[in-house]
């Protein structure tokens, strides 16, 4: 202590350099920079189960979209029907999932079917979500439209959707795009109503009233103030509708209503192989298992993504 120099050096004006006040710098907060999608990614990948499910989903998707272009599977190919050695082989090293009554590999059949089933569900979900969100956003903010749309919604929502899809796809005839049209032509109404309710809840929140007082236009308010809040809600909706459309497609193909007879899909495979449930159980249960895996992984990954995209989980 004694050694310490107790005399203070004199502070002169020349020791200071004047600095201009930087208006931008004063506004800066001393916290980490928040990036929405970065946080979503961090929250999403923080769980090992999620990563496993995501990998499973990706593996299934890649298999169904790449494998069929190599296998050249065709539902009506009966080239090996007289080759008794090739028929009804239980799963083995050559044919991983065994062969069926036509001597065709079930492995090829499942991925060709999965490709169609997944495509239909993804396209139908995409269409209903885009139309549904767009209409729902307008519906939630316009009183005049609300009155008409509510009546339309009340009429349609009372009818079971499976019934609508079945009757429509019967009327339009069989075919890939016809089935998608039958699924989406009323399917978007449910999403739109859902979004309408959410928009109405958000619309009257205080921050929006404040924003309105400050002169924000309606369009900007919906797009900038409300929609970002609905990301997790929309993702939840998507994760619910993907498996449900797969389920509809599978059931309709099972009945032979939706797709034309030459289109392979998981529903058609299940219906084709259901007589073998006891004699050659692998033929029936493997497509059912793959179907369940596809639907469950899509749903669970979607749910996790929805959880991650809710800003409240980022804290």
């Amino acid at each position: 202590m004694a050694e310490k120099d107790t005399t203070q050096p004199e502070i002169l004006d020349s020791d200071f350099t004047p600095v201009e006040i930087d208006k931008l710098e004063t506004e800066k907060l001393d916290t980490e920079k928040y990036s929405y999608w970065g946080s979503v990614g961090r929250a999403f990948f923080s769980s090992k189960v999620t990563i496993f499910l995501l990998l499973l989903m990706l593996a299934i998707l890649l298999m169904s979209f790449i494998q069929p272009s190599f296998s050249g599977y065709s539902l009506n190919n009966v080239a090996k029907i007289n080759d008794f050695g090739a028929r009804y082989n239980w799963p083995n090293a050559k044919n991983w999932f065994g062969t069926d009554d036509n001597g065709q590999s079930l492995f090829d059949a499942i991925w060709a079917g999965a490709k169609i089933s997944i495509s239909i569900s993804v396209i139908a979900t995409l269409i209903t979500t885009v139309i549904g969100v767009a209409v729902g956003a307008v519906w939630g903010t316009s009183k005049g439209l609300d009155r008409i749309m509510l009546e339309v919604y009340n009429v349609i929502s009372n009818v079971p959707q499976l019934l609508i899809i079945m009757v429509l796809s019967y009327s339009f005839g069989a075919g890939f795009w016809n089935l998608i049209f039958a699924m989406t032509v009323t399917g978007w109404l449910g999403t739109a109503y859902f979004i309408r309710v959410q928009v109405m809840i958000m619309r009257d929140r205080e921050y929006n009233i404040a924003s309105k007082t400050l002169g924000t236009g309606l369009g900007r308010m919906v797009l900038r103030n409300i929609m970002p809040y609905l990301t997790s809600v929309i993702v939840t909706n998507v994760s619910l509708s993907l498996p449900s459309y797969i389920s509809y497609e599978v059931f309709l193909s099972f009945l032979g209503v939706g797709l034309s007879a030459s289109t392979p899909s998981l529903g058609r495979l299940i219906s084709k192989y259901s007589p073998y449930m006891t004699s050659y159980p692998y033929l029936f249960w493997l497509p059912v298992l793959v179907l369940a895996l596809i639907a469950v992984s899509l749903y669970l990954v979607g749910q996790r993504l929805a959880d991650a995209s809710d800003p409240r989980t980022h804290l």
Partner: protein, 502 residues
């Protein structure tokens, strides 16, 4: 409230009407009419006789209200009836041809000739609005004492009386009406039955060809059943006649034995069948399924909410999430397999038939299980939301224990959405029933829909859409009314937000 209910009922009717009309228009304009013959074995049989085939096809189209059809005989009859001065014959002469052409032109018909015999026939395409107006015009048939006009029986008494009938007991008995018993009571559900109001939804074709659609869906199924009855002539006879359906038999077709038995002209009866009708089968399985789904979902949801965050809740949430995602078809097959191997229940309804209760177990239970996962998630959420409310905190502060709070306080409030959820469950059950009935081969309405789509039976498809929509719309209406009864705080009339809470 009364005014609100009135408009609500009106809206429900409008919505049933709209859905049915749209379906009608869609099906009859989009589907090529020749498709109805795709599965018809008669077409093969008649292919060697083109004239009969043309006649058969046109008759079928007429039955389905696609066209008005007149074969040579009825065409001649019609022309002569319209203009008594002209005599027309089937011969291929110029004067006959001119007469045919003149009449068809005047009445909007098109004249055709059979391929082989070269005889004339006429058809008229019915526009869609005319078919629609016929469909709705013939939909409701009301029976009155002035319904029957039999030229052979001019002195038929006309009355409606309340009396004790020896065959059916106390009933409103009619004469001059189409049906003998207008209103009667028996031990069968719903105990009060009527015959004065009948729905007519068209004629079924090509499956159940020629039968009335209402009879296909509402009539008994399976082999004939017989009972012992004492008839008005005093004799005790084992019969399979359903005496409640006695309808007027024109004297031209009188069966003397039947007449002797019943002692009046109402001898035309339907058969008693052993198995319930399609609609009866579906309603039975549906009701059992509804009860099962609530009986499982409510206790599980309550227990999960009480153990929130514990292992039971977490495991339950996982199971429920997986069940929601698994496509119904896979779900039904897995539970069918489990039920058949673990409990030895029949995996198909017709194996043991409708009389054996074991046939009903799997279809009804699986139908119920389909909606359990959705209900559990919903009730669990609602119970957890209730846990945070002030009245629960107050009850805790008073010193009530957990189970008292749950059974006495939370459950009462939770019963509101339970009641409100029932209509949704019924709509879900209709969709689910199409799948379970198809897979279990249960002879119900749900199976009939895909079956008639495959058979191109348009009349039945439209009738089923009508019935399903009516059930769904009415259940939503009744659900809302029940909700007001359970919780008087809810006012339907002031809000359109009551639906928004779903």
């Amino acid at each position: 409230m009364k005014k609100y209910l009135f408009f609500r009922v009106l809206r429900s009717i409008v919505s049933i009407f709209l859905v049915t009309t749209l379906t009608f228009i869609l099906i009859y304009t989009m589907i090529p009419r020749r498709d109805v013959f795709k599965q018809d074995p008669m077409i093969q049989k008649l292919s060697s006789k083109p004239d009969s085939l043309t006649d058969y096809k046109n008759n079928a189209y007429e039955k389905m209200n696609y066209i008005d059809y007149m074969d040579t005989r009825s065409l001649i009859k019609k022309i002569e009836a319209d203009n008594s001065k002209i005599t027309v014959t089937a011969a291929h002469t110029a004067s006959n041809k001119a007469a045919f052409e003149k009449w068809t032109k005047a009445n909007g018909y098109t004249l055709h000739r059979f391929k082989i015999s070269k005889d004339y026939y006429a058809t008229r395409d019915l526009p869609i609005w005319e078919r629609l107006s016929r469909f709705y015009g013939n939909m409701i048939k009301i029976d009155t004492p002035w319904a029957i006009h039999d030229p052979k029986n001019p002195n038929l008494p006309r009355y409606l009386k309340i009396k004790h009938d020896p065959l059916v007991g106390w009933a409103v008995v009619g004469s001059g009406t189409k049906y003998r018993y207008q209103l009667y009571f028996n031990s069968q559900f719903p105990f009060i039955h009527e015959n004065f109001l009948k729905f007519n939804l068209g004629t079924s074709y090509p499956s159940y060809a020629g039968e009335e659609v209402t009879e296909v869906i509402g009539g008994g199924q399976g082999p004939a059943d017989s009972i012992t009855k004492t008839f008005p002539n005093g004799r005790k006879i084992i019969t399979s006649d359903d005496v409640y359906t006695r309808a007027y038999q024109p004297r031209k077709h009188r069966n003397e034995m039947d007449y002797e038995q019943y002692k009046d002209d109402y001898t035309n009866t339907e058969q008693i069948n052993r198995d319930p009708s399609m609609i009866g089968t579906s309603v039975r399985a549906g009701l059992i399924g509804l009860i099962i789904s609530y009986a499982i979902a409510i206790p599980v949801a309550i227990y999960m909410a009480r153990k929130k965050g514990k292992w039971f809740d977490r495991a339950g949430t996982f199971v429920v999430t997986v069940l929601i995602a698994v496509p119904s078809l896979a779900f039904i097959y897995v539970f069918r397999y489990l039920g058949a191997t673990l409990f030895g229940l029949p995996d198909s309804f017709p194996t043991l038939g409708a009389e054996n209760w074991r046939s009903w177990v799997l279809p009804a239970v699986v139908l119920g299980l389909l909606s359990v996962s959705g209900l559990v998630i919903w009730f669990r959420r609602f119970m957890i939301d209730q846990q945070k409310s002030d009245y629960v905190k107050f009850a805790k502060a008073k010193g009530l224990n957990e189970s008292e709070i749950y059974t006495k306080h939370i459950f009462k409030n939770a019963s509101i959405p339970i009641v409100q959820g029932i209509p949704g469950s019924i709509i879900g059950l209709i969709g689910g029933a199409t799948m379970t009935e198809e897979i279990f081969a249960t002879p119900g309405m749900g199976k009939m829909l895909p079956d008639s789509i495959q058979a191109h039976n348009n009349a039945v498809v439209i009738a089923l859409v009508f019935i399903f929509t009516t059930i769904a719309v009415l259940s939503v209406l009744l659900g809302d009314i029940a909700m007001v009864l359970v919780d008087p705080r809810i006012k339907l009339s002031s809000s359109d937000t009551s639906k928004g809470e779903e």
